[in-house]
């Protein structure tokens, strides 16, 4: 049996002051359901990270089923930090593959902008093990990637300028994406001179705080987009336990499993959305997914290979850095962009219509990684 994507929906990412978490979810779901040719939904999976702690709202699945009049069908919320959306998507796929459901609605959503940066930073830190000497040392989530970046610079010829090239590429892509959070042009100089968040990462190296939602309808009934592989892996929950700091092993493992299931290799992928929660994360992910050799991602960046219509276009949506990162929605927003790329109507549409697309969604500092490969059929 195979699982197919029938339709997608997504809100504008950014500041949705007048919309609740529920409003955002329902808007994205309506857009997806309106294009699903009347498929009757059998189950709902929601990807969400901080609905309870920041928006004081749980029972998201049941709310979706009720307010959309889907009937009293089974629903659940999945939490896997920033990979919540990808994990919810995967549970939808598995629910269909098990034979239990025919049609599943998956929605990812987050409401964050109403809270202060300090409050959000505190809640995001819950994606690290809170009972360890690392937490007590004051290591933050961005701090992990700062430590990684300094070691990467030490072992390669890369510098802060290479991270800035990633941030600039993703901003330039977002300029053409009407749903992206950041639509203001920038320059390498502005990125390099921005205030430091955690050395060597500056403001433009870090994904923003965002409101938004994205949804997708999956089915066992054939459509033009088939899910060729779904894979997930866990990784170390602490920096000091990584046997190789410059390897996010969950990305590597989930990628390898996805390629094996799909019967293809990284060279076959035409377009990619990866989890650039920080510019440094994109650098590691393009290596771990096998697109470029280990410790050589910075050379590919320098040569423009990950730009739109480059050898391996990465984050044509603008990525987390510039599309925005409403945490639970991100994994589904990646799918949203790839579906449009495969259908030929995406922002930054590739000149040659892609056939194979890969989405990689990360949670924690490498604690979770989910990879999906989509095929235009």
């Amino acid at each position: 049996m195979s699982v197919y994507i029938h339709s997608v929906g997504m809100t504008k990412f950014g500041n949705s002051e007048n919309n609740s978490l529920k409003d955002l979810m329902l808007a994205a779901c309506r857009e997806a359901l309106d294009q699903a040719n009347g498929l009757k939904i059998d189950a709902v999976y929601v990807g969400n990270f901080m609905g309870g702690s920041l928006a004081n709202q749980e029972i998201l699945g049941a709310i979706v089923a009720n307010d959309l009049g889907l009937g009293y069908i089974p629903t659940a919320k999945l939490e896997g930090a920033c990979a919540s959306g990808g994990i919810a998507f995967r549970q939808g796929v598995l629910g269909i593959l098990s034979g239990e459901y025919e049609n599943v609605l998956v929605v990812g959503a987050e409401k964050m902008k109403h809270a202060s940066t300090a409050e959000v930073t505190q809640v995001i830190n819950s994606a690290m093990d809170q009972t360890t000497n690392e937490k007590y040392a004051g290591l933050t989530f961005p701090g992990f990637f700062g430590v990684t970046a300094n070691r990467y610079f030490y072992e390669t010829g890369a510098s802060k300028a290479h991270l800035a090239m990633i941030a600039l590429k993703n901003r330039e892509n977002a300029l053409n994406n009407p749903l992206a959070q950041f639509q203001k042009p920038t320059t390498i100089e502005e990125i390099l001179n921005a205030r430091i968040i955690t050395d060597p990462l500056g403001l433009f190296d870090c994904s923003p705080i965002t409101d938004g939602a994205a949804a997708v309808v999956l089915s066992s009934k054939p459509s033009d987009i088939k899910i060729l592989a779904s894979a997930q892996a866990s990784g170390p929950t602490m920096m000091q336990d990584a046997t190789d700091l410059l390897s996010l092993s969950a990305i590597r493992l989930s990628g390898r499993q996805a390629y094996e299931k799909a019967g293809i290799g990284p060279q076959d992928i035409d377009v990619v959305e990866i989890h650039d929660c920080f510019s440094m994360t994109e650098m590691i992910a393009i290596e771990e997914l096998g697109f470029f050799p280990k410790l050589e991602g910075w050379l590919a960046i320098e040569q423009g290979k990950t730009r739109v219509n480059g050898e391996k276009p990465v984050n044509t949506s603008g990525g987390l850095l510039s599309r925005g990162h409403p945490i639970g929605a991100t994994g589904i927003a990646q799918i949203y962009q790839l579906v449009h790329q495969l259908r030929g109507n995406a922002p930054n549409q590739l000149e040659k219509l892609p056939r194979l697309a890969l989405a990689q969604n990360l949670g924690g500092t490498g604690a979770y990684s989910v990879v999906h490969i989509l095929e235009r059929v």
Partner: protein, 100 residues
């Protein structure tokens, strides 16, 4: 400093079972508190409980005579490769300083 070992992997974290052989991890040994800075960051934006310390340096220390690493807070600026040693442990935080 105590490190825990099984199947050749050493960690300062005491885990229950070995991810390689699935047996309970029982080997432990003392290693020196000294090491070298493997990498570091200077944190400028901190959560509320650490805001009064910012900017502060967090380093990943490769412990001497062990494959284990340890995340510490430094009380001074460091570079990769600097020799460092334990200064004190405060509320579960390993505070390190450079070996002068």
């Amino acid at each position: 400093m105590k490190v825990y070992e099984c199947c050749g992997v050493e960690s300062v974290t005491k885990k229950v079972y070995c991810s390689n052989c699935s047996k309970e991890i029982t080997n432990e040994r003392e290693v020196p508190d000294e090491g070298t800075v493997y990498s570091f960051t200077v944190i400028h934006i901190a959560p509320p409980e650490y805001a009064h310390l910012a900017p502060y340096t967090v380093a990943l220390v490769q412990l001497n005579n062990s494959s284990a690493k340890l995340t510490v807070r430094m009380d001074e600026a460091v570079q990769i490769g600097d020799a460092v040693k334990l200064d004190e442990i405060v509320d579960g935080t390993y505070i390190y300083k450079k070996v002068s």
